[in-house]
Structure formats: C-alpha cells, structure tokens
Symmetry: C2
DNA sequence: AATTATTGCGCAAACGTTTGTTTTTATTGT
DNA sequence: ACAATAAAAACAAACGTTTGCGCAATAATT
C-alpha cells in the first residue's frame, strides 16, 4: 500500500525547497522565475511519487475549497434531480466539486444545511430556496458567500437569480386553454409565496382577465403529489366542474392523475390537463400531457456561470435572469367547439 | 459583516485555553474532566460567537474528512437519483456529507471521478460500478478506502455489496408471465456483463426452463431508453411476436412504451409488458405497469451502514447482501386463457 | 504534616499547504 | 574590479484544528 506522498517528500527527493516545489506545482514557476530545469525535475519527481495535493491543507491555507454547494428542496423530485445533475456537470468544468443538500422543503433544514455546508468553506452556493425567508441568505451573501438562486427566488433583493419566465409560461398555457375553448379553468398551485408560484398565478389570472374569463379558481399550497391529489378531489366535488386543470408542477400533475383515475374521469374527454415542467414519462402517460417545459439545462448553465463570475472575478453585480419556457402541445387538452 | 469566529476567539473571550475549548466542543469534556461550569461557559460563548468549526483544519489534523462519495451511472435516471437522495440522507445521520459523482456509465469517467474524489480525502465510497472492470476498485480498497458497491457489483470479490435479489426478482416476474399463460416471451436486458443483469437473465431463463417454455429471447445491451426502444422495434418485426416483454429497467420500459406507441401496439391487449424498478409515474401510464419493485431505501440504508461499520469500527469483513424484490401486479399483463 | 491521588486545565507540536519576505548566487554595467 | 541589478531559491509564518503530555491546585490518605 503506497503511502500518500506530500510536497515535503518531493522537496527532499528533488533536492529543492518546499516553497519551490509548491510554486512549480501551482504553475507559478514563471512568476517566481524558477528555471526550466528545476521545473522539469520537480514535476517529474511529483509524477514519480504519485503526488496528489491534499486539498484540506491547501484550502486551509488559501481559504478556497474548490467546492460549491447546491441546495434543493428534494432530490426525489425529478425536476431537481435533473438540476443537480446539470449543475454538478457544469461545476466540474471549472474543476469544482458540488456538495448537494436536500432541504426537504423545510426552512429549518435549509438553514441547518447552510450552516453545515458553510463549515466546509464552500466557495459559493446555488440554492432553490424553499421558503419565504431570505434573511439568512442575504446574511450569508454579506458574509461574502457568492450566492445564486435558481428556480425559486426573491424579487427586488440584491440576490442574483436564474429562473424560467414563469409569468409568460403560465400566461401562454392559460391562453392555450382558452383558445381551445375552455371557459371554466382551475389551477392548482404550489408553495404560495414562492416567486415562481406567484408569477404563475399572475400569468394565469392575467390571461383569464385578458380574455374575459371569469370562472376560474386557484387552489392548493404545495408542489407535491399529495396537494395535486387533494385539490383535484375537491375540484371534482364542485357543482360546476372545471373543464380544464392547470397543474403548476409535474408532481402536482401526478396527484391530479391519481385523483382523476380514481374518480374515473377521462382526460381529455371529461377534463383537460396541462402542467408545468417536463419529464420523459409525461410522454407515456395516456394521454401524453401538454405542458410548459422549462429550460432546465440553460438555467443551470447560466446559474453556474454567474456564480463563477462572482467567485473568480469577484463580479458583484446582481444578475436577474428569466428564461423562456416552451409550450409542448400533446393530447391532454380537449378542443371545445365554440357555439356561435 | 460578522467575521467567522474560530476556536481561538472562543478561548480568548471565555478565558480558557484553546485546548479546553476544543475538548468541550468535541464532547470530550468528561474524558478530560473539565468542570460543568467551564463547559457551560465555553458552550455559551461558542453559541454567542456563532461558531462553526472549520472542517478543513479539523480534517487536516485528524485525517478524516467526514465526507463520503457516491458515484452513480447517471443522476438523471430516477432510480439513481432516488438512491442519491437516500444515501445523502443516511450519511447525514452520521454527520457526514456526500459528494455525488456521475460516471455517465463510462468506465473512464468513473476512474477519473474516483481520482478527483480521492484528493478530497473521502472517508469512504459507495459506488454503482458502471463497467466490467474492478481492478481500480480493489486497488482503492487496498489503499485503505472503505468501499461498498450498490445495485451493481461483482461476485466472488472481496468487495462488499448490497443489491436486490435480481435472480429471484426476474424469476418471479417470469413465472408470473407464464402463469398468465404467456408462452412466447422476450426480455430486453441492460448492460450485459453487469451482475444484476446476468442474474436477471439467469432468473428469466431458469423460469422458462422450469416451466418448459422454449420460445423466448434475450436481447439488448444497455439500461437506456434507446435500447428499450430499438429492441422493441426489432421484436415487433419478428414473424412470431412475443406475447409479453420483460423490460429489465424503468428506462428500458420507457423505450418499450415509445416503440409500442409508435407501432400502435396496445398494452396489454396486443402485447404484455412487465418491468424492473418502481417509479411513481408507472402508475399513471396507461395501463399502469406491472413491475418488480426494488427496495431502494433499504439498499441504501444497509449500504451506508456497512460503509460506516468499516469507517468507524474498521470492520473489514466483506458483506454480501441481497434484498427481496416485490412483484407489484398492475394491469399491463394480459391473462391468456389456456386452451385445454 | 507529608505524601499521594485526583481534578481541572494549558503548552506546544503537528497536519500539508501557500506566500510575503529574505537570502544566496549569477549577471551586468562601468 | 566592484558595485548594482537580476535571477533563483529558501525561510518561516500562517491557516484552525486536535491531542500527547505535563503541571498546578485541591482533596484524600497516611
């Protein structure tokens, strides 16, 4: 079992000082005018000894960890799992590693995670904040932690974010429903105070108003299957059933499906369904769901980019980015003929 | 901007030595007979200063990182995303953090990841090995890295693993198909030489043999949607179409669904489908898929347990654990009446 | 009163780096 | 030939912990 070698071993074996070895191995050789010959010799003995720098010592000294953190509400939600995958991938390109935290959509766990992760001296953090609190985030940023919110965010705060244009997305979905002749529409929302949710509600309501639809409802309070299930159950109890349901997330849509199935309500025959978020499975559901797809990959790429412009170049300007969503028309929305 | 406080600040403010503070904060107070009063005071000033230990310094000193690594073939696969979520959660209970790596089912990336993660001085690793190579894993273990394989593993190696009992799972699925009257069955496999796949093939073939079914096929070579799609397309070309398809993963099943849909082949009317892996969406597909569900949570819990018995108690015995799968009967398998 | 045991705590080294400063050696200009 | 400058490399401190050992003060025992 080959012992781990360190910079001291290299220094001894090569006959140079620790300092010189360190500088060569860090690419600062030229800056300190270390001769080519020396560089060569040090590099080769490093190779020979199978040297791998001890990141801890390095980080302790420099204060930099080459690590970022990502906190999501739940890795089990495919939407966030996909995000984690993309962000991890992007960070690698900067030679950074990603620590993933799961807040379970609980603000206390979120705070806990932030503390825990901070003790690992992360150089930056990407977060999908789960609550309506932001003080702890602002505080972290003031302490000097580069921070970017994705998906969920807070407007009017000095805190960069990248998200979909939820307003437009919801508006276009609503408009589509209306264009298909729906006049009684229910939307099932997620976490009420989250900005994406508010934007979606706004988009939905504005569309209703713009097209003169007055018979609509907004209910629900979580981006969860259970919420979708319960609210759908309730909607089906109403005297006047909506002809279309707009689910604000793939998880909510799953709950709708469950309830509709239980009650033997056919899509789109009896009721139409449209949802936010994309997921391969949505194509194999019967019928495939019409949806508002978010550019998850782009969101992640841009978020990482912003984060690193802050980490590396200390760019402190606040970036607020909203990306276009895409309406993917499938077969879950019925076209209702207009009586004229 | 509140500066980060360290153990020295606490020492100064509380009036005790660094040593004493360290001991109190590490719960070693009693061992070193530090008075309750002192303990109290130190703890409260630590609280007051908002102290968070610097893990790097700690790890540099102790050589332990309180970090484990998890390498999966792809976080985008819901099966592995779920695993990541569970393992992360379990590790937290030990006060450990999980670094997640994505090998993209490429053995070279896997090796690369292992090196990268090693420089972070991880205390242990859980891996879903993606290839047929294990030398690099054995080498790591010999170097002293606690290692546990999950899902995929290698038999007859001194390498602990936790997985489903894939043989039994496949056998019972096959038996079920046969009991439902199917006499021409096709299975679409995943990565050929992976142990789970081999076990599943064996379970499938044994069941066929045990029940005297001779008309069956085994094809495919990846746990991917594409593989499922292509193989299904091919199956549908055969002169004698199978009456049932057994997909070896949820991703493969997704490919089957795509192909069957394209070809307008109805499930279970025209062909029956059964799959490995569970996923909430499988319930909302039309028809809901009958499947072999794996105890993912248990697999993860046990894997973490084994890993930590190695990390903490240096238990070097090799554990080989296979967990029961569960047949979940839904509506995707047709019962074919026996002609007698 | 002297010895020993116990309690409560601190000294200082060590972990493996990075880096501001300094020292040594080589080169140049006059 | 001699300073002055440039090139090459080394010294030593620092990052924030943990921990083996040691020491003083008090209590218990003779």
């Amino acid at each position: 079992m080959q012992q781990k070698s360190n910079i001291v071993d290299i220094a001894e074996k090569s006959g140079f000082s620790i300092t010189t070895v360190s500088r060569v191995l860090n690419g600062k050789a030229d800056k300190y005018r270390i001769s080519k010959a020396t560089q060569q010799k040090i590099k080769s003995t490093a190779e020979e000894l199978n040297y791998v720098p001890n990141e801890f010592a390095r980080n302790l000294r420099t204060g930099r960890s080459k690590t970022i953190a990502l906190i999501v509400p739940s890795l089990k939600n495919p939407f966030f799992a996909e995000m984690a995958s993309f962000i991890n991938l992007e960070a690698r390109k900067y030679d950074y590693i990603t620590l993933i935290g799961d807040s379970d959509d609980d603000i206390n766990i979120e705070k806990e995670e932030i503390i825990q992760l901070s003790s690992r001296n992360i150089d930056g953090m990407i977060i999908v904040p789960c609550g309506e609190e932001w003080d702890h985030l602002l505080k972290k940023q003031e302490e000097g932690l580069p921070l970017v919110c994705v998906d969920r965010y807070f407007e009017d705060l000095d805190l960069s974010f990248v998200s979909s244009n939820n307003y437009d997305g919801a508006y276009s979905a609503s408009k589509y429903l209306i264009e298909q002749g729906h006049k009684t529409v229910a939307c099932i929302q997620g976490v009420k105070y989250s900005t994406p949710n508010r934007q979606r509600v706004k988009g939905f309501e504005d569309a209703m108003a713009d097209f003169g639809i007055t018979s609509y409802t907004v209910s629900g309070d979580a981006f969860s299957e259970q919420n979708g299930y319960l609210e759908t159950k309730l909607l089906l109890q109403q005297k006047i059933r909506p002809t279309a349901i707009f689910a604000f997330s793939n998880t909510i849509a799953m709950g709708c499906l469950k309830a509709l199935k239980e009650e033997k309500v056919k899509i789109p025959g009896d009721i139409s369904l449209i949802t936010f978020d994309d997921n391969p499975y949505l194509n194999y559901i019967e019928p495939p769901l019409t949806r508002i797809s978010q550019p998850v990959e782009d969101i992640c790429k841009i978020a990482v980019k912003i984060l690193f412009s802050r980490i590396v170049e200390n760019d402190k300007t606040v970036k607020r980015v909203l990306l276009k969503t895409k309406l993917k028309v499938k077969e879950s929305v019925k076209s209702i003929p207009v009586l004229s």
